[in-house]
């Protein structure tokens, strides 16, 4: 520094010794100020920090584990390919404990302590609902990989976006016609008695009724329940189909008890795979599921018609043909949901490139760039299939798989189209100011 500000040179330009010293001091102060060098570098190669809200503990832990694996696989590929705008992604993970209050705390920690560019991750709807206000207040883009209708409903804020996985309302609409025409028309619904379950209650019933189906009973079950037999007599005897959606540690118990209760007779079953994510279909007690149908966001078992992109995705994440970890056949994945992490990260990448994202000052531009997206074609970025994004309600629409359990495996028997799940958007986040 002193080399540049040689007194002799400064003196020749007519600057007094006092002001030269002042200038020297100021230059030295700026140069050594914390963050100064990093700031100038941030424009070029400093990593883009993405805060990852993960269910490492709590009832969502199995999902969290696979969300992390999928995330690191996608981030590795993106970084190997040159990152975003020439900058690598750095993932900073915090455990939300599958807990709404901790979710909100984590958002603040990301903003104030880790100083991340954006926040992404989390599945369980109560965590999203609990965290969204914090994201809005902190003006922090919050890309969720959830499923509930909360984002599309318009009840969140402009900073909350769900571009990588379809919502329950779309899933219900898409599978309802198939159920009523292939499984049965008189349907009893069993679902967890909180946000995610309520979405099923509110959206499957009208979708099925529209198709000539009839909901003969709705049985909500408290999320803390660990035994279910006592609810089963509430299922009316004229039921053709039991539509079941359960999440959390008790799901295996639920299916086993259903088996004990009905034996080989009883209504047919249609389940959301949420009930059995990360659970081996060959677990003892699940033989009862043979021949029943499940919704899957993305198939767990490698299908004969899988695309090359899907195969590449499975290899990158470390999935064997049965959808378990290549390192441990007992470590079954949450395949029906976790692809959403992969696809969301690629949406973030595309949006950041479109917005020429430089730093937190471009957050509004980033949201606008995401809102401007429409078609997300199938490919390496979207291995689950093509999708359509609606910028108004911040929700993506895609196809669903319906699978049957055969020989302890899930085989896809039907894939819905994107249009099957479409509905009239009720929300318009783009009218909200930043």
């Amino acid at each position: 520094m002193t080399d540049i500000f040689k007194p002799s040179r400064l003196l020749t330009t007519g600057i007094s010794r006092r002001s030269a010293l002042k200038g020297l001091g100021a230059a030295a102060a700026i140069g050594t100020a914390p963050g100064f060098v990093r700031y100038s570098q941030a424009q070029s190669s400093a990593p883009i920090k993405i805060g990852f809200q993960a269910h490492r503990t709590g009832i969502g832990a199995a999902y969290g584990r696979w969300y992390e694996r999928t995330t690191s696989a996608a981030v590795k590929l993106i970084n190997d390919g040159g990152g975003i705008n020439g900058r690598p992604i750095e993932i900073i993970t915090e455990d939300d404990g599958t807990d709404a209050a901790r979710g909100a705390e984590v958002i603040e920690k990301f903003a104030n302590q880790h100083k991340v560019d954006i926040v992404y991750g989390t599945l369980f709807s109560h965590v999203v609902v609990g965290s969204a206000p914090a994201a809005g207040e902190l003006k922090m883009p919050y890309y969720v990989v959830s499923e509930g209708y909360h984002v599309a409903s318009g009840k969140m804020n402009r900073y909350v976006i769900q571009p990588g996985i379809t919502d329950v309302r779309a899933q219900c609409r898409a599978v309802a016609p198939w159920i009523t025409s292939n499984v049965g028309k008189k349907i009893t619904m069993i679902y967890p008695d909180y946000a995610f379950g309520h979405d099923h209650r509110d959206f499957f019933a009208p979708a099925a009724t529209e198709q000539g189906g009839e909901i003969v009973a709705q049985i909500p079950i408290p999320p803390t329940e660990s035994s279910f037999t006592r609810y089963l007599p509430q299922i009316p005897s004229d039921t053709d189909v039991i539509y079941h959606v359960m999440v959390g540690p008790a799901v295996l118990t639920f299916v086993k008890e259903l088996g004990e209760f009905y034996g080989n007779s009883g209504p047919k079953l249609f389940g959301f795979i949420d009930s059995l994510e990360a659970v081996d279909i060959k677990s003892p007690g699940l033989e009862f599921l043979e021949g029943t149908h499940f919704w899957e966001g993305m198939p767990r078992y490698l299908q004969a018609d899988a695309s090359e992109d899907e195969k590449a995705y499975r290899t990158a994440v470390g999935l064997d043909d049965n959808g378990a970890s290549v390192n441990d056949a007992k470590d079954v994945s949450t395949a029906a949901h976790m692809f959403g992490c992969w696809e969301t990260l690629y949406v973030i990448k595309a949006a950041m490139e479109a917005a020429d994202y430089k730093g937190p000052e471009d957050r509004a531009k980033l949201i606008e760039a995401t809102e401007a997206m429409t078609d997300l074609p199938a490919g390496p970025e979207h291995p689950q299939g093509a999708k359509v994004f609606n910028g108004k309600n911040h929700q993506v629409y895609g196809s669903q798989s319906i699978s049957v359990v055969e020989g302890g495996k899930l085989n896809v028997v039907h894939r819905t189209t994107i249009e099957d799940g479409m509905y009239e958007a009720e929300a318009d986040y783009t009218t909200q100011s930043f």
Partner: protein
């Protein structure tokens, strides 16, 4: 399904709950009765039992009954040893001071829970029942294993009752419970009795957990509900009363099951909590408890 079968199923389910609850609550009641220690970590000993049951049963190949029997023997012993260790390291050093031990056992709760999270993980894991028999009734099928749980719990309660009332160990325990100083003066090693009772209490919880784990699943957060329900049971039944514990467990188990089935689970919880409040107001010593001496 008619009213009769409906009620039968609710009662059977209620009895399973009651059986496991009675064993768990008995452990809590015994520890309080003899030691005057409110063991807030009781639910975690229960959880530890379930987690160990998973560990032991998966270590054995072959028929699931082998692994389950091993778990039934090993898990309570290990949990008992852990309880013994924590009694020596913590409770004894606090001189069994009622307030201090509450805080200390809250600490133990978190330590055990976090250790389970670290070494066992956050997943819920199933344990295979020793046998899979479906008992087909005309209206519905019922798990044969669940019936076994009811009978096993009854057998364990009888053994405990026999030990407490008909053996010298029981006599020593009752003497210590009745008057610590006098017992000591008569040469009863109160200190060792306390350690034994604390271990026994934890073992009962672990045993209940091993019995329930093939029905539910082993999970590191599973200790909360049994703890809460055990407290409800011992408050209603009267702390330190074996008979009260059994009656209260059956009352809570059956009412919870029947009310949840015919009305709503929330109402069942509300009534149980209401009953606790009533008991505390009108009969603070519990239905079968004796007033403090």
């Amino acid at each position: 399904m008619g009213f009769g079968p409906y009620l039968l199923l609710a009662s059977l389910e209620g009895l399973v709950t009651a059986a496991v609850l009675a064993l768990t609550a008995l452990g809590l009641s015994l520890v309080f009765g003899v030691m005057r220690v409110v063991n807030v970590a009781h639910g975690e000993f229960f959880m530890l039992g379930a987690v160990l049951a998973w560990g032991v049963s998966t270590a054995f190949a072959g028929h699931p009954a082998i692994g389950f029997t091993a778990a039934l023997l090993v898990a309570p012993l290990v949990v008992g040893a852990a309880a013994l260790l924590s009694e020596r390291l913590v409770l004894r050093r606090l001189n069994y001071d009622p307030e201090a031990t509450i805080v200390a056992t809250i600490g133990m709760l978190y330590i055990i829970q976090q250790l389970a999270l670290t070494f066992y993980g956050a997943d819920a894991r199933p344990v295979q029942p020793p046998f899979n028999i479906r008992i087909p009734l005309p209206w519905f099928g019922f798990s044969g294993y669940k019936l076994f749980v009811i009978f096993a719990a009854i057998a364990m309660m009888i053994v405990t009752w026999f030990v407490l009332t008909r053996t010298k160990i029981g006599l020593v325990m009752r003497a210590t419970q009745y008057d610590r100083e006098t017992a000591q003066a008569f040469g009863i090693p109160v200190d060792r009795v306390y350690a034994g009772v604390f271990a026994l209490g934890a073992m009962l919880a672990a045993l209940a957990a091993v019995l329930i784990v093939p029905i539910q699943q082993a999970h590191y957060l599973m200790g909360r509900d049994p703890l809460l329900l055990s407290f409800i049971v011992v408050i209603i039944g009267g702390l330190g009363s074996l008979r009260g514990t059994v009656v209260a467990a059956v009352l809570i188990g059956l009412s919870d099951s029947i009310i949840s089935m015919f009305y709503s689970p929330t109402l069942a919880k509300m009534l149980a909590t209401g009953l606790v409040a009533m008991v505390l107001v009108f009969r603070p010593q519990g239905l079968f408890g004796t007033t403090a001496r």
